[in-house]
C-alpha cells in the first residue's frame, strides 16, 4: 500500500519531468531548422539537457511506483490528460526564434530558483537531481537572456518581435507558481519548498534583463491560462504528443 507521501512524491516528480520533456520536445523542433548553425546546435543541446533532466525525475517516479514502469512509460504511454506540464511550454514556437528564447528564459529563471531550493531537499535523490539540473539551467538562462537583450536592444523589427513574444507569454507566467496539496505535503516534510517565497526574486530577475533589453513588461492582466496541474491543456499538447509518441505507440516493442 502506497503512502500519501509517496503518492505526492510521484506527482511532484512527474510535474517537473513532464514540464522539461514537453519543453524539450518543442525546442527540438528547431533541430535542422535553426536560424544559424550555431543556434541550431545550441537548441539541440538545450533540448538534450532538458530531456536528461526529465529522465532523472521519471526514473525516480518509476522507482517509487515500483510496478515495473520505466521512464519510457511516462513519456510515451500517457495521454494528454495525464501530462502535468505548465501550459507555457506546450505553446507552439511558430518558427520564431525570439519566442523560443523568451520561453526558455521565463521558464528557466523559474527552474533555476526552484532547483536552488530543491538542492536543500531532505530527499537525497531530489537534491541530487536538482544539483545536477541547476548547472545546466543556469547556462540556458544565460544564453536566452543574452539573446533577449540583443534582440530587444537591436533593430526596430527585432525589438518589436521580441516584445510581442513577451506580451504573448507573460500571462502564462502566473501558472509557474501554482501549487496544491501535493506541494503542501512535501513542503511539510522538507522535501519541497514554497514557490511563493521566490516569486519576488523571479520578478526581479526577469525585470533586470527586460530593462537591459529596453522591453516594457506588460501589465498584469486578468487573463491567466491555467490547468497544467490538473492535466487540462491547450489544444496544442495533443498534436505535440501525437508526433512525439507516434513510434512507440505504433510499434510498441520497437528497440534500437
Amino acid at each position: 500500500m502506497m503512502t500519501d507521501l509517496n503518492k505526492a512524491l510521484i506527482d511532484f516528480c512527474l510535474r517537473i519531468a513532464d514540464n522539461s520533456l514537453i519543453h524539450a520536445q518543442r525546442i527540438s523542433e528547431w533541430t535542422g531548422h535553426g536560424p544559424i548553425l550555431e543556434e541550431d546546435i545550441a537548441m539541440s543541446n538545450v533540448a538534450l539537457d532538458l530531456i536528461g533532466q526529465s529522465r532523472g525525475f521519471y526514473t525516480y517516479a518509476a522507482q517509487i511506483e515500483g510496478d515495473g514502469k520505466t521512464e519510457d512509460f511516462y513519456a510515451f504511454r500517457r495521454g494528454e490528460r495525464e501530462f502535468r506540464n505548465k501550459l507555457m511550454v506546450e505553446q507552439p514556437d511558430n518558427k520564431d526564434f525570439g519566442f523560443t528564447m523568451m520561453k526558455l528564459f521565463l521558464n528557466g529563471c523559474f527552474d533555476y530558483l526552484m532547483f536552488r531550493d530543491l538542492m536543500k531537499s531532505t530527499d537525497e535523490t531530489i537534491s541530487g537531481l536538482a544539483a545536477k539540473s541547476i548547472k545546466e539551467v543556469t547556462y540556458h538562462v544565460r544564453h536566452a537572456g543574452d539573446w533577449i537583450v540583443r534582440l530587444g536592444d537591436g533593430t526596430e523589427e527585432s525589438h518589436q518581435r521580441i516584445q510581442n513574444s513577451l506580451n504573448e507569454l507573460w500571462p502564462y507566467t502566473n501558472e509557474l507558481f501554482e501549487q496544491d496539496s501535493v506541494d503542501a505535503l512535501l513542503i511539510s516534510n522538507g522535501i519541497a519548498f514554497d514557490k511563493e517565497k521566490f516569486r519576488d526574486e523571479w520578478t526581479k530577475m526577469v525585470h533586470e534583463i527586460f530593462a537591459k533589453a529596453t522591453l516594457p513588461v506588460p501589465e498584469n492582466n486578468t487573463y491567466s491560462p491555467t490547468g497544467g496541474l490538473k492535466g487540462i491543456h491547450s489544444e496544442h499538447l495533443g498534436y505535440l504528443l501525437a508526433e512525439m509518441q507516434y513510434l512507440p505507440r505504433t510499434y510498441p516493442d520497437a528497440v534500437w
Binding site: 550555431e38 543556434e39 546546435i41 545550441a42 543541446n45 538545450v46 533540448a47 538534450l48 539537457d49 532538458l50 530531456i51 536528461g52 533532466q53 529522465r55 532523472g56 528557466g108 529563471c109 533555476y112 537525497e124 535523490t125 537534491s127 541530487g128 537531481l129 544539483a131 545536477k132 539540473s133 541547476i134 548547472k135 545546466e136 539551467v137 543556469t138 547556462y139 538562462v141 544565460r142 544564453h143 537572456g145 530577475m205 533586470e208 534583463i209
Partner: protein
C-alpha cells in the same frame, strides 16, 4: 569470487577512452565515481557529465565489455550526487585535452553559479598557438560539454571543454 584488487579494476576502467573525446579516459573525465568489490561481484558507480549526455550509455556498455573480459558482470549504478564538475579533472588530464586540440576548462568559481554573474575570465587561450587573441563563437559546440571559439592568432576555430 572476485580475484582482482580494486586498483586493478580502476586500471581497467582507466583504459576506456571517452567516446566523444578519446584523448582522455572515462576515469580521467570523472565519470567513474566508485568501485566496490563484494563477495561475488563488483559494483561501479558512474555519473553523467550532462543530464542528457548521449555518451553515458556507450560508456556503460564499454565498462560491461571491459570487465566481462576478466570474467566480471558488474552492477553499474548511475548516481547524481555530487554533481559532476570539470574541477575533478587533474592538471595532467587538462594538458592531454590541450595537446589533443581542445582548450581545457578553467577552474569553476562560485560566482559562476548565478545566470547573471559576470563570469568573464578573459579570452580562452588557443590550444594550437597559445594566443589569447580569441573570441567566443558559440556557447554550444559539437557536444554538450564543449563551446566554440575562434583564434585571431592562427585564424582557426577551436573547441573548449566548458567549465561546468
Amino acid at each position: 569470487m572476485v580475484t582482482l584488487e580494486s586498483s586493478e579494476i580502476w586500471d581497467l576502467l582507466n583504459s576506456i577512452p571517452d567516446p566523444e573525446v578519446p584523448a582522455i579516459s572515462i576515469v580521467e573525465l570523472g565519470v567513474v565515481r566508485d568501485v566496490r568489490i563484494t563477495d561475488s561481484n563488483v559494483e561501479v558507480d558512474i555519473t553523467p557529465t550532462y543530464s542528457g549526455c548521449p555518451a553515458l550509455k556507450s560508456m556503460e556498455e564499454q565498462i560491461r565489455a571491459k570487465l566481462l573480459l576478466v570474467g566480471l558482470t558488474p552492477i553499474i549504478k548511475t548516481i547524481y550526487k555530487p554533481a559532476w564538475t570539470t574541477d575533478w579533472m587533474s592538471d595532467e588530464t587538462k594538458e592531454k585535452l590541450r595537446a589533443y586540440g581542445i582548450a581545457p576548462p578553467e577552474k569553476l568559481s562560485f560566482e559562476n553559479l548565478h545566470p547573471f554573474a559576470n563570469n568573464d575570465k578573459g579570452p580562452v587561450a588557443c590550444p594550437f598557438c597559445s594566443s589569447t587573441d580569441t573570441s567566443l563563437t558559440s556557447r554550444f559546440g559539437s557536444t554538450a560539454c564543449k563551446a566554440l571559439h575562434f583564434c585571431n592568432g592562427c585564424r582557426q576555430p577551436f573547441e573548449q571543454f566548458k567549465c561546468h
